[in-house]
């Protein structure tokens, strides 16, 4: 953009130097953000002795022992399974409820519901913990998938609805009208025309909804016991023991981060729009 392209008369040599300097700046900006993850992976590949060495070790013989330990001693498969069921379930329910709602808001001007979703988006999760805990305790649902999926709707439903409102609004009206004239019912217009047109936004909504449910800590902290604990609480428990197992902790943190990295690589172009859905309107 013009702002940074003002210089035009510079000589080639200084131009090359300027470009190199610019890239150095870009790398410099990225270093802090990458470093934490690099340190995490390095910690996961070090033994406890290497991890607690001072000054910190940069070069060492990597070991996979921490990962083995995490799976063997810490029931990690169970927590992974729990996390997948809870996040997947909460995302599916949010889609079933949220997609029709988003379509209705976009096409039938149901603004009241949009406002309700915004309220749910703003509400601090700490205002839910006491009511949810007492309610699910009375129902005997503590430590079940059901109570976890229900509570995670607080996270997933607003994400799905806000992203999809924008997407459904962008579907050309002519397209839907043409289908109506050809005899499609309103329901079929929604499922056969609008939804397929919005598949990119749909993918973004699914992935963001899954990630933010996957990341959620507080509901699992109060609503699960040993049976249905999800990954964030399982990872957190590494620190509550007397001596912190740095390698195991790093390995667990790496394992919980890996799926997120893979998921965002799929939709990274659309994530920024997704994260501010409902906010950026031209």
């Amino acid at each position: 953009m013009e702002l940074l392209r003002v210089e035009g008369r510079a000589r080639p040599v200084s131009k090359i130097a300027a470009t190199a300097g610019y890239y150095a700046g870009v790398v410099g900006i990225c270093i802090p953000f990458v470093f934490v993850f690099l340190w995490m992976v390095m910690g996961a590949l070090k033994t406890q002795v290497q991890n607690t060495a001072y000054p910190p070790l940069w070069i060492f013989a990597p070991t996979l022992e921490n990962f083995r330990k995490v799976f063997v001693a810490n029931h990690f498969w169970m927590f992974i399974q729990n996390s997948i069921i809870v996040s997947g379930g909460a995302t599916l329910v949010a889609l079933a409820l949220g997609l029709p709602a988003a379509h209705a808001i976009a096409r039938y001007r149901q603004r009241g519901i949009a406002l309700g979703i915004l309220v749910a988006r703003m509400a601090p999760h700490l205002s839910y913990v006491v009511p949810f805990f007492i309610l699910f305790q009375r129902l005997g649902w503590i430590d079940t998938y059901l109570c976890m999926i229900l509570s995670h709707l607080v996270i997933t439903l607003p994400i799905v609805v806000w992203i999809m409102i924008g997407a459904f609004e962008d579907v050309p009206l002519e397209l839907e009208e043409a289908a109506r004239i050809d005899g499609c019912s309103r329901w079929r217009v929604f499922t056969r025309i609008s939804l397929p047109v919005c598949r990119t936004a749909l993918a973004t909504a699914i992935i963001l909804s899954f990630i933010f449910s996957w990341n959620n800590f507080i509901f699992a902290l109060i609503l699960t016991g040993p049976e249905r604990r999800t990954l964030p609480v399982a990872v957190f428990n590494f620190i509550t023991s007397d001596e912190i197992d740095w390698g195991g902790l790093s390995a667990a943190a790496t394992l919980i981060t890996l799926p997120i990295l893979l998921l965002i690589l799929l939709v990274q172009r659309h994530i920024v729009r997704g994260l501010t859905a409902g906010g950026l309107k031209e």
Partner: protein, 314 residues
């Protein structure tokens, strides 16, 4: 199912709608209301139930462990909170400090980085992925890595300080540095969010004002100050609202890294509500705090949205 009454003149339905199609007919006619009904009901439940519960419980005194049912005490919890509870006022102050400092730092840094990256260069996709990682990664997981890095005796951060010839810090372990350390971590996690939004905003700006200003001989700084910034204001407003909304919600990272300590030096209102409810099991009092939290968060958000609507049409 295909024939509908609203087909306009000229196309006569081959068959008049048969009686058997009643349910479909009903669904079709009230489609706009029936479609969002399940979501509307769940949203109502998700909002109304906790709110009603908190308000009801805030007027009681009750411990989870106690055998007796909740006892109605009127507004006594609130009187105590506002009148005598120094820990509450401390947490309000810390919440304000945490939110204001993190959001402003993230905005300034985000703006600087976004402007710097606003240029065609190879590897933009890689930079974008790098920026996405901190904000979508699991807060608990990255917070724990930061705990390792903040470790006063073995951590990498004190090692880096020593390379610069600076004294080691206690970071999370000292009342004076605990909150700044948490802010530091939050700035790391959320500055990329500002970068990505503002960068998208910069790219959608029209070119004409810049060309006009250049022709008029504006300097780079003048361009930035008098063209870029005003044009970017709506994007900045949106970024600020989203960040404030989420900064007020911060719980995971603080709970994992300091649990509000040491000496409540980093105890935001969220943590205080949690401790009251799940450490002391004082449910009535925790609900009263939660009601205050809800009102506080909504007041701040509505204020921001108002301000944004004002400054939207400049």
């Amino acid at each position: 199912m295909a024939n509908r009454t609203d087909l306009k003149a000229g196309i006569t339905p081959a068959v008049t709608a048969p009686r058997a199609a009643r349910p479909g007919e009903f669904f079709e006619r009230h489609f706009g209301y029936l479609l969002p009904l399940p979501a509307a009901l769940s949203i109502a439940l998700l909002i109304i139930f906790p709110l009603a519960f908190n308000v009801y419980m805030s007027l009681q005194t009750w411990f989870v462990s106690s055998a007796t049912p909740p006892k109605f005490v009127g507004l006594r919890n609130f009187v105590e909170i506002f009148g005598k509870d120094a820990r509450f006022w401390n947490s309000m102050w810390i919440t304000a400090e945490f939110t204001v400092v993190t959001v402003l730092l993230e905005l300034v840094l985000g703006l600087l980085i976004a402007v710097y990256l606003h240029r065609d260069f190879r590897g933009r996709g890689v930079v974008r992925t790098v920026m996405l990682l901190p904000m979508v990664s699991t807060p608990v997981a990255v917070a724990l890595i930061w705990v390792i890095m903040f470790n006063p005796s073995l951590g990498i951060l004190n090692y880096l300080l020593s390379l610069l010839g600076l004294k080691p810090l206690l970071w999370l372990g000292h009342p004076q540095t605990a909150l700044p350390s948490l802010i530091f971590m939050d700035v790391w996690k959320w500055t990329p969010f500002m970068v990505l939004i503002l960068h998208a905003g910069l790219q959608s700006l029209p070119l004409t004002p810049f060309e006009a200003a250049l022709i008029d001989g504006a300097s780079r700084w003048q361009l930035f100050r008098y063209v870029t910034l005003p044009l970017l204001r709506p994007t900045v407003a949106v970024a600020l609202i989203f960040r404030t909304m989420d900064s007020l919600k911060t719980f995971d990272t603080i709970y994992v890294m300091t649990e509000g300590g040491p000496n409540n030096a980093s105890e935001v209102l969220n943590i205080y509500v949690f401790q009251t409810g799940f450490k002391y099991f004082h449910i009535g009092y925790a609900s009263a705090l939660a009601v205050i939290l809800i009102i506080f968060v909504f007041a701040v958000n509505l204020l921001l949205i108002r301000v944004r609507e004002r400054s939207w049409s400049y």
